[in-house]
Each structure stands twice: as structure tokens, then as C-alpha cells.
């Protein structure tokens, strides 16, 4: 083994190994087996797969299996770039054992979580795994990628930023609005990592870091040029980049808010330059990355909450663009929610629904729509059983009043299915609903929304 490849391997391993780990070489099958319950790697792999496919966020660092999978993918990229020669690495037999126990190959080479490692496993299994003659550009791109991954894996704020749009937590939405209200609020959140006294606002610095990370990754991919295998591997391995679309939407929302700040002030001389830079960044980094992620079909699945909300309104970009009516309802429940008073918030929603009902037959369809949107809000608040109670009653009303082919009825049915999917088995769901109803009867002596 040459010293160069030896150093290359150590740099790849150190990028992905848990910090402060004293087990060397890393990874070993014993270490990994000891890190998961009962040492059952295959079950853990399946668990990760199902969590990913249902849209649950997988951590960027700190999960032993994901760390090893990410390491394996990066090793394959390093091999493709002539940075490491996988023919001569001391941990090869251990790595093969681990990848086989995880069953990575069966998930396929394009799988957003297992694909990168699967490609390495397939390469090892094939007869032609000779290392490429190092081309400076690709070698340096790999080196730069490892520095980038090292930064990303240590950056909790960045992970918070990426994860934020996928959380149904209303507090997160409130925190976003609070920090975007004014530059002073944004600055304070940046320094204190909080919005107000209670809300976590680490996502603010994370968003600023995101701009840098996406720009660097786009540069790395550009440097890999026409080396399609390396580009694909790089994109697969950078799991965080699979969220580029939701990150762009979030950043664009920030930009819009920031332009709003500027509109309230006298024109500054460098506004045009700032806009130019932002547009250049979007064109240089985000758009090509989004195109790549789409080309390789790596977009993260929508979270259960996103899918529910999408079913509610039929909008694809539900986080930012929920209907105006739902927006008004949001604002009405904003105050009690900010004060942590869920009961009051629910009461507000009930009032809105009663107002619609009061319109009688004339307002029946409007009432159905409103109640559907209320169900969406409940989902957004993470109150799935409550959402189900609403949606079941609405569905019944809708079936009585609307023709079977009506689009609203279709959407409601879809929403009902999504709730079942998100909350597990239907039996458990019904049980939860019934418990909820019984609790309400006990408390208030009557059913309510």
C-alpha cells in the first residue's frame, strides 16, 4: 500500500467515524454489532429503510449504521477519484462482512440511504476494481468533499435547518415567523440561537451554513465533470443534499422576508449587488443540484405530515402556501398556541366550524372545506387522533351532500387514508379515536369537534 492511499483512507475514516472513538481500525463488525440492539444489523437496516420511505428524518451523523453506510459510500467515491485504493485497505474484509450483514445490495444502487454503500459492495464483488490514475481535479474534488462532509456532520444547526420544514411542530413555524419579522429578531436568533425566550432557533445559523454547503457541493460536482459514476456516488452519499428542494423553498422564504425589510427602509446602494449575488448563487448551486437530485431520483419522501397536508389542500408546497382560508384560521389560533394553550386553540377551531355550520344548507360545502382545513391544522399540530375525529365527521357529511365523483370527497378520502398510514394500523387508530371520544364525553358531557 502506498502512503498516499493510506493517508487517504485515514481521512475518509476520520470524517465518518464517531468522534473520540478509540476502536481502530474502524469500522469492525464487532463494534457495529455492539452498537445496535441485539446486534441485529439486518433488522436495523430494514428499520432505517422503512423510516426513510415514510419520510422520517434520518440523522446526518451519530447513528452507527448510517455512519458506516456513509463511510462506505465516501470510500467508493474516494476510490473513483483515485484518492483511495480499495483493493488494499486493511478493513476490506470487515467492511464486506458489515455490508453483507446489512444486506445493502438488495436495496439497490440508487437507494438514497443504502445505494452508495451498495455500489461499493458491488464494485468489490466485481473483478475490475482497479484504482484510477489520479487526476488532480477529481482528487482535489474528493478532498474538498471530505472537508465539506466533516463540517456538515458536525453542524447541528444545519441539520436543524434541513429538518425544520419536515416537523409538524407548530412552535417551529412560529419560530420561523418570529425570526423573519425583523432584522433585529434574525440577528438575535443568530447569536442566542433562540427566538424569544423559549423557541429553538438554531435553524437560523443552519440556514446561513446551508448556502455555503450547497455552493461547495455544487462546485465539487462540477469539478467531477463528466465522471458520471463519481458524480452519482457523490450525490448519493451527500444525503443532506437530497433535501435541496425544501431547503431552497425555505431560503426563498427568507429572501422574500429580507426584501420586505429592505422595502421599509431607504434604498441602499448595494441592494442590486446583493440581489445579483443571490441570483447567481441560485443559478450556480441550487438549480443544478435540484436537477441532479431529480435526475437521480433522490428527493426525500414527503413526511407523513406533509402528505396529510397535501391531501387536505391539494397543494404541493404546503409548508409555505396553504390556502388563504387555512392561513386565516392559523392566525386565529396563533395566540393560544403561542401561549401553549392547546385547548383554547381547539376551541377557536370549533368556533370557526360552528360559524360555517350556522350557514345551514347554503354554506354546507364551505363548512366541509373549512372542517377539512381544520383537520389539516390539527395534523400540523401533531394531533392526529383529533384530526381523525374531524375528518370522519366531515367525510360523513360530504358523502351525504356531494356526488361520489366530487373532487373534495376524493381529497377527504385520501386524507383519511393518509391518517391511517401515518398513525399505524387502523385498529390502533380507531382505538385512539374511541378513547379520545370517551375522554371528551367524560369531560364535557357531549361530543364536540
Amino acid at each position: 500500500m502506498t502512503l498516499r492511499y493510506d493517508i487517504g483512507l485515514a481521512r475518509v475514516a476520520r470524517t465518518f467515524a464517531p468522534p473520540g472513538l478509540e476502536v481502530e481500525p474502524w469500522p469492525t463488525i464487532d463494534w457495529l454489532s455492539a452498537s445496535v440492539p441485539y446486534g441485529d444489523l439486518e433488522s436495523e437496516a430494514h428499520e432505517l429503510h422503512s423510516r426513510h420511505s415514510t419520510g422520517v428524518w434520518l440523522p446526518l451523523a451519530g447513528n452507527p449504521i448510517l455512519d458506516v453506510l456513509d463511510f462506505a459510500g465516501a470510500l467508493d467515491l474516494a476510490h473513483l477519484c483515485g484518492y483511495v485504493d480499495i483493493n488494499n485497505i486493511p478493513i476490506l474484509s470487515q467492511l464486506v462482512l458489515i455490508l453483507d450483514r446489512l444486506g445493502v445490495v438488495k436495496f439497490g444502487p440508487g437507494h438514497p440511504v443504502f445505494g452508495a454503500a451498495a455500489q461499493l459492495r458491488s464494485r468489490i464483488a466485481s473483478e475490475t476494481i482497479s484504482v484510477r490514475d489520479a487526476e488532480v481535479r477529481e482528487y482535489a474534488a474528493c478532498e474538498r468533499y471530505l472537508v465539506l462532509m466533516g463540517d456538515v456532520r458536525k453542524d447541528d444547526a444545519f441539520e436543524e435547518f434541513l429538518r425544520d420544514p419536515r416537523t409538524p411542530d407548530r412552535r417551529s413555524h412560529v419560530a420561523q415567523e418570529a425570526v423573519l419579522a425583523a432584522p433585529e429578531a434574525f440577528a438575535e436568533a443568530l447569536v442566542r440561537e433562540r427566538a424569544g425566550n423559549a423557541l429553538d432557533a438554531r435553524f437560523v445559523s443552519g440556514g446561513l451554513h446551508a448556502v455555503e454547503y450547497f455552493a461547495t457541493l455544487a462546485d465539487v460536482l462540477r469539478a467531477l465533470g463528466t465522471h458520471r459514476d463519481a458524480r452519482g456516488q457523490c450525490l448519493l452519499n451527500a444525503r443532506w443534499a437530497h433535501s435541496v428542494t425544501s431547503a431552497r423553498r425555505q431560503l426563498e422564504r427568507w429572501v422574500e422576508a429580507m426584501r420586505g425589510w429592505r422595502r421599509s427602509l431607504p434604498q441602499m446602494s448595494d441592494e442590486e449587488l446583493e440581489d445579483e449575488r443571490w441570483n447567481a448563487f441560485v443559478g450556480r448551486a441550487l438549480i443544478p443540484l435540484e436537477a441532479d437530485v431529480a435526475e437521480w431520483s433522490l428527493s426525500n419522501p414527503l413526511s407523513p405530515e406533509d402528505r396529510l397536508l397535501q391531501a387536505t389542500t391539494g397543494l404541493s408546497d404546503i409548508q409555505q402556501e396553504y390556502s388563504a382560508r387555512a392561513g386565516r384560521q392559523h392566525r386565529q389560533v396563533e395566540t393560544p398556541l403561542k401561549g401553549g394553550n392547546l385547548r383554547e386553540a381547539l376551541a377557536e377551531l370549533s368556533d370557526i366550524a360552528r360559524e360555517q355550520d350556522a350557514l345551514g344548507e347554503l354554506g354546507a360545502v364551505d363548512a366541509i372545506v373549512t372542517r377539512t382545513e381544520i383537520a389539516g391544522i390539527l395534523v400540523r399540530m401533531g394531533k392526529l387522533p383529533a384530526a381523525l375525529i374531524v375528518i370522519e365527521r366531515v367525510l360523513q357529511d360530504a358523502r351525504d351532500r356531494l356526488p361520489p365523483s366530487d373532487e373534495l370527497l376524493t381529497r377527504l378520502s385520501r386524507l383519511r387514508e393518509e391518517i391511517s398510514h401515518a398513525t399505524g394500523s387502523t385498529g390502533e387508530l380507531h382505538q385512539a379515536v374511541e378513547e379520545r371520544r370517551a375522554e371528551r364525553r367524560h369531560r364535557y358531557g357531549a361530543e364536540e369537534t
Binding site: 502512503l3 493510506d6 493517508i7 485515514a10 488532480v136 481535479r137 482528487y139 482535489a140 474534488a141 478532498e143 474538498r144 472537508v147 465539506l148 463540517d151 432584522p183 433585529e184 434574525f186 440577528a187 438575535e188 443568530l190 447569536v191 446561513l208 448556502v211 455555503e212 455552493a215 461547495t216 462546485d219 469539478a223 431560503l251 427568507w254 429572501v255 422576508a257 429580507m258 426584501r259 425589510w261 429592505r262 427602509l265 441602499m268 448595494d270 441592494e271 449587488l273 446583493e274 440581489d275 449575488r277 443571490w278 448563487f281
Partner: protein, 260 residues
């Protein structure tokens, strides 16, 4: 640390500015350094430090410790611990005949403060091996602190407004205001060290910097600092991009080699 030669004749140290990071501030410098044969004679170090919270004096203290070790005990304190498993394969670095400090923006304040302080320490006789190459240095401060902060925070439009609010929070930023006490002291100390060395007929190369300023830099004062060489004007670049080489813009790569 990046090294490609058994017995390098010198070291190049890169020091980022406010809000920057050790390697990414210099973007594709590493790639170009590997491409240019001239760089193979040097070890490259990328120095990182927390630049936002602490004062420039504090940051300079950290850098001074690093520089002192690099000049006096490179193998034991820097190279050995960095390349630990491979030290048997590497020729020990006894000392570097030349150390070039490349600094961007606030990094210039940090390295100059460190040098002025070390010039009164036992390591002072080693300092003439040091040379300074400064990209958009903030050693005379910034007349637009919000702009400087925005440059350090990133590409989003509107960050300058955030910069206005942030001036109150970051101690290092206060030091970077034009004519701040920290910068006035730095200028005075540099003049004093120059005068003292001249009186003692000692070399002064480490106190006089080569400087590059960019056409579109709107944040740092571009006047001459003490006895620095006449600044080179770089066209079509701004405060942030001046030290970032790409496929077309290779001035930083060429200029570092020339400084050696």
C-alpha cells in the same frame, strides 16, 4: 496540513477572516496548489479559529501560539501531532526556512497582532523568516461594519440589515471598526517594532506586508498600513472572492508563489 514533499523548504499558512472557515475561505486553493509544481516545495497549513465571539486580541493569541510552535518546534508541536500515524514515513521538519502567512480580511489583523506581540518574545529572532501576504486586509478597519458582517455571513440579500443589528453582539466586530482602539494600537505597535528593529539594525520583513485589494470591495479601508508595499489592485473581484481562485481567476495562486 497538506504536504507533498519529504523535505519542504517552507510553509504557507492560510488564515481566514471574520465568519470564515479554515479551508473553505480559500475555496479551490488546495486543488490549484496540487496542480502548480511550485507549491510542492512547501507544506500548507490552514489555520482555523472562532472569529465571531472573541476579540481580535484573543484570536491573535491563539494564532501566536501556533506561529511560535511552527517557527520554533514544527515537528514536535505541529507536524508530528497532525500526521501522527505517518511520522515514521516523513522526514522530520527541523525548521522552515520561509513561512508565508496569507491572511484574508480580519485574518490580517490577527496575524499582524500576533507578530507584533511575538516580536517582544523569545521567538522574535525567528520572525524575519516570516512574510505577509494580505488579501483585502481589515487592518485599517471597515467603514461599513454591517457590510463586513454580511460578507462573513453569506449570500442572502438583506444580511447587511442583520449586520447593523449584529454590531452590538460580536466583540471582534467592534475591533474592526475604522479607528477602533484595537486597530490604533496595532498600528502604533507595528510602528514601534519597526523603529526598534531599525535602531538595532535587525531585519523588518515580517512587519511589512504585500497587499491585494479588490475593485468591488466596499467594506475595508484600502489605505496604506504603516510601511506596507504599495497595494496591488485586483479587478472584477469583491471582498470575499479576492482570495478564492477558480478556473479563470488564478491571481491568488500566482501571487502566493511570487511572495515566496
Amino acid at each position: 496540513m497538506i504536504s507533498t514533499l519529504a523535505e519542504p523548504s517552507g510553509a504557507i499558512v492560510f488564515v481566514h477572516g471574520w465568519g470564515g472557515k479554515s479551508v473553505s475561505t480559500w475555496d479551490r486553493f488546495v486543488e490549484h496548489a496540487r496542480r502548480f509544481v511550485g507549491y510542492s516545495k512547501y507544506d500548507l497549513f490552514f489555520f482555523g479559529y472562532p472569529s465571531k465571539g472573541p476579540t481580535t486580541k484573543f484570536c491573535a493569541g491563539r494564532f501566536a501560539s501556533f506561529l511560535e510552535d511552527l517557527l520554533a518546534r514544527p515537528q514536535e508541536c505541529i507536524v508530528g501531532p497532525t500526521l501522527e500515524p505517518w511520522t515514521p514515513f516523513i522526514t522530520p521538519r527541523t525548521d522552515y526556512s520561509r513561512v508565508l502567512l496569507c491572511a484574508h480580511s480580519m485574518g490580517a489583523v490577527v496575524v499582524r497582532r500576533a507578530i507584533a506581540d511575538l516580536d517582544l518574545e523569545p521567538v522574535a529572532p525567528q520572525l524575519p523568516r516570516v512574510r505577509l501576504l494580505l488579501f483585502a486586509p481589515a487592518h485599517l478597519g471597515s467603514s461599513d461594519l454591517p457590510g463586513l458582517i454580511a460578507e462573513g455571513l453569506g449570500e442572502l440579500p438583506g444580511l447587511k440589515l442583520v449586520g447593523y443589528a449584529l454590531r452590538a453582539y460580536y466583540r471582534s466586530v467592534k475591533d474592526l471598526a475604522e479607528k477602533s482602539p484595537a486597530l490604533e494600537l496595532l498600528e502604533k505597535d507595528t510602528r514601534d517594532r519597526l523603529a526598534a528593529r531599525r535602531d538595532a539594525h535587525l531585519p523588518v520583513g515580517h512587519l511589512i506586508a504585500a497587499v491585494l485589494h479588490s475593485q468591488h470591495d466596499k467594506v475595508v479601508v484600502q489605505e496604506r498600513f504603516v510601511e506596507d508595499l504599495r497595494a496591488e489592485d485586483v479587478m472584477h473581484q469583491d471582498h470575499r472572492s479576492i482570495c478564492k481562485p477558480n478556473d479563470v481567476y488564478l491571481t491568488p495562486v500566482d501571487r502566493v508563489l511570487r511572495a515566496l
